[in-house]
Symmetry: C2
Subunit: 381 residues, 2 copies
């Protein structure tokens, strides 16, 4: 095992109706003035917004709001949120939504305590402090609820880049499986692809990968596959919804990367280019990239690909494992070709260029040059 | 999945030579005056004590010491440590040793900020504050390095009881696999039994046990079995030593109990009686209790026992799984009979009485009355 430092201070409040106590949780951390970050007005129509703000008021917490966060959250909106937070003298942010809301909230939290422009953090400036971060997850996929990362797209430069920092760990994350029963069929299967992506990036690319970590990653993948199939049949199965959500958290809260070394995120690197330019759902982009990347990459780590085939699908060869995953994506209805995403030849070239720049900025250019990325994306046609 | 709250703030510093930075880690948490808690003088002979204290001094941290902690740590020694800590006006404790040292350190940390007698905590008083807790683990088994529990034996009343409290989470735990290469063959296999015990208590007894948790528990058990066999051949295999240590931590840091409900610790409840009276090594006592308890308990959860047989040993029936675990304990050389622990009929009765009292105090008496405990222990003769 490789050496590591690990600390994950986020408190998880998991269970039905836990969001009803959000004000109390926030009060325990000294929150007094909060910006509520959310997407569409559905949370107002459903009564969730009222329920939350009533509890905030009861606990003496003032609030203002910043709505209309979109999937693939954008820098301009983050800047708008920072203005709101500064004007309100907020000490906290509360995201009510999925990973896009929470990632926006994290960037707003960091930018609100910074003199310069928030994009500086995405291009090298260290995040050293942030407003207190809280969230109520209405969709499980990104794992942002228990990690210190955030991904935002700069619409002007077409860069979809991440930031990290200890202060970006949420103080409290509420995961109520029942709140997640309303997500659409499409977003359920895109989320499944996202969690599988988080699981396999390290699993296939790490040069040091302890057996214990392999078993943990496989536990998460098996859980996502099993619970997705249950949820497609019955979206209201709360046990499956809960396990799906918890597997999403575990896939990217740091645990499955402990003691590993030399890993990278090639599927995310390529997909970020796709959604930065084409605004495709992140998970849908990933399910297109993954089988193509696996086909291209398998010979670099043949034993691990064979193991994947055996452990996940009870099949014998690397190739069979890749085909089984592609078939499973097709079966649940998340795309596996660029054509399904309506990405044509012209845009393909733009995506290759953008991904090549990502590879340089993320220091993955030793393997992923323009030609390699083109080869992978051509496998996804 | 059942509802849960989870927060585990402990920072893990895992890797070769990490103990050389202990003063720096402690300084980050504001430590200035520390009591070093340890067992035998071996850590002085090996140079570890000097290395640590040199680094403490370099970071401006004063220290005093409390040595001679034994396995199955005792209340009298904890009281002695509290006297030392109070006299020294310590703000921190640093355990250098295994679970017994750390559990003593935790009790000392809690008792040092309490007016009354520390045993009060073990009989119902809540632990609300404690000195800052740090540790360097020289043996992996108890998981105490990343949880909020401690177990101490009251020698007068023959009670081996636990305490819990958020302030008992260590601030920083150092796990250096190399420091753990010196433990004896015997203590390695007792530790393996202890980790398996932590894994199976919930796995077999929980009334709500999500599939994802099953997979995680099985990952830990498989890892312990595999790495123990490697370490018996080659005690200096640092990869195996590291995975063994990390599986020990994961088995009792809370993760494998999330979303579960209705579990209990019957093997620990009975073993605590054995080591309270007979001072047997905790892991050795557990490897005696476990196969007997499994034989008695299996019909209450037959599917889970069958699953255990299949997943861990690739066998078909519950009975075969139990026999395979017993055989594995025999193979690695940890005892499976009371006779091997030199416990005779007379003492057996004392143990049954003591365990029956544990069952009452731990609210497990609905199942574990005097007769049931006698039946289980008679299966261990």
């Amino acid at each position: 095992m490789y050496e590591f430092s690990f600390q994950n201070p986020t408190r998880i409040e998991f269970g039905i109706d836990k969001e009803k106590n959000i004000g109390q949780y926030m009060k325990e951390f000294g929150a007094k003035k909060v910006v509520i970050i959310f997407g569409s007005d559905r949370i107002k129509e459903s009564g969730l917004f009222d329920l939350v703000t009533t509890n905030l008021s009861k606990n003496g917490i003032e609030f203002t709001e910043c709505g209309k966060i979109k999937s693939n959250p954008v820098l301009s909106k983050v800047r708008e949120g920072i203005e709101i937070a500064k004007k309100f003298s907020a000490d906290s942010v509360l995201s009510i939504g999925g990973g896009s809301c929470l990632d926006s909230a994290k960037a707003i939290a960091a930018g609100s305590l910074y003199e310069g422009d928030v994009w500086d953090f995405f291009t090298g400036t260290a995040v050293t402090k942030a407003l207190k971060i809280f969230d109520i997850m209405t969709l499980a996929a990104t794992g942002s609820e228990m990690n210190n990362g955030s991904v935002v797209t700069n619409e002007e430069t077409k860069q979809k880049y991440p930031i990290h920092g200890f202060s970006l760990f949420p103080k409290v994350s509420v995961i109520n499986p029942k709140l997640q029963t309303t997500i659409s069929r499409d977003y359920l299967v895109y989320s499944a692809a996202d969690i599988i992506a988080h699981s396999i990036e390290g699993y296939f690319t790490a040069s040091v990968q302890p057996e214990l970590i392999n078993l943990q990653v496989e536990a998460n993948i098996k859980t996502v596959i099993r619970t997705t199939e249950i949820l497609l049949q019955n979206p209201n199965n709360l046990d499956a919804r809960g396990e799906f959500a918890w597997a999403a958290t575990l896939a990217l809260n740091g645990l499955t990367y402990l003691g590993t070394a030399g890993f990278s995120y090639p599927n995310h690197m390529i997909e970020h280019a796709m959604s930065a330019i084409y605004d495709v759902p992140h998970g849908a982009g990933l399910s297109v990239v993954i089988p193509a990347w696996m086909t291209w990459y398998q010979d670099r780590n043949p034993k691990q690909f064979q193991r994947f085939a055996k452990e996940i699908f009870d099949l014998s060869t690397a190739e069979q494992g890749i085909e089984a995953l592609r078939a499973w994506f097709n079966k649940i209805g998340t795309p596996t070709t660029l054509r399904q995403l309506n990405i044509d030849e012209h845009n393909l070239e733009l995506i290759i260029d953008n991904a090549t720049q990502n590879a340089i900025d993320w220091q993955m250019h030793d393997i992923y040059n323009h030609q390699v990325i083109a080869t992978i994306l051509n496998l996804a046609k």
